[in-house]
Assembly symmetry: C2
Homo-oligomer: 165 residues x 2
Amino acid sequence: MTAILPAEVLEKSATVLEQLKAAGLMVITAESCTGGLVAGALTAHAGSSAVVAGGFVTYSNAMKQAALGVSADMLAQWGAVSAQVAQAMAEGALAHAPDAGIAVSLTGVAGPDGGSEEKPVGLVWFGLQRAGKPPITQKKIFGGDRTEVRAQSVLHALKMIQDSI
Amino acid sequence: MTAILPAEVLEKSATVLEQLKAAGLMVITAESCTGGLVAGALTAHAGSSAVVAGGFVTYSNAMKQAALGVSADMLAQWGAVSAQVAQAMAEGALAHAPDAGIAVSLTGVAGPDGGSEEKPVGLVWFGLQRAGKPPITQKKIFGGDRTEVRAQSVLHALKMIQDSI
């Protein structure tokens, strides 16, 4: 096995790591549909421990509540794939990671099941929270199958970190 | 991008998912050196939400303490890469995931830096905890570079879940 993650993801995460190092910022992730791959990409490189605090993979709603403090009311009202929950995940991750200064989150419908007219397969909501700054949320609808939706989600989460440093 | 993770990892995680489904068990991970790739592999397949609660990527010691309740004393006495911390990570993950019945953990020296005579690059400690059962810890020393150590660690963590179902 020569590589775990594709070159495009590794190149992007290497760039983000250098920017985090230059900014003196530690990052925490809160991932649903990507299941840990954003954190996995960020830790692929030597020296990542200097700027990666870790991450929360909150795949179930129970984990979104237990690990990140997302409220049951919010999940019931807006659904797990929503701007509100993405923002709450990023805020919760930052609040629960004592050494982190920036949090990125994402929650989406990777498919092939789980899509609806209102929330189709490929819909992903992203959140970004820096300590003491206003929250950012972004919505994307990616094409392709489950693997492609997850890969594009990882790349976009990395891009959001880049854009906010 | 046709795949995010290598075929060998995806085949293994697909098998583990089927076994978890058959056993009616939800899994939670606690990862250090693999940075979320075990959870990433388990969530690569359609329908994984039925058996994957999520995971904790506790890359820093601060996160091992904050998210999993690993004690500062234990980290100071044994070091982050130890049987004691691997076991505490698995116990902590299970305790902090209300919907999970089995937890797998790992903490190791992926390299290229951070190795010592006592704890060389490639050393990885694994923990496994099922609700109401005795803890299991295992030690491996993998060859190869950072990517190979991480890939072998993912495969072994998946194997430990398989072996304990």
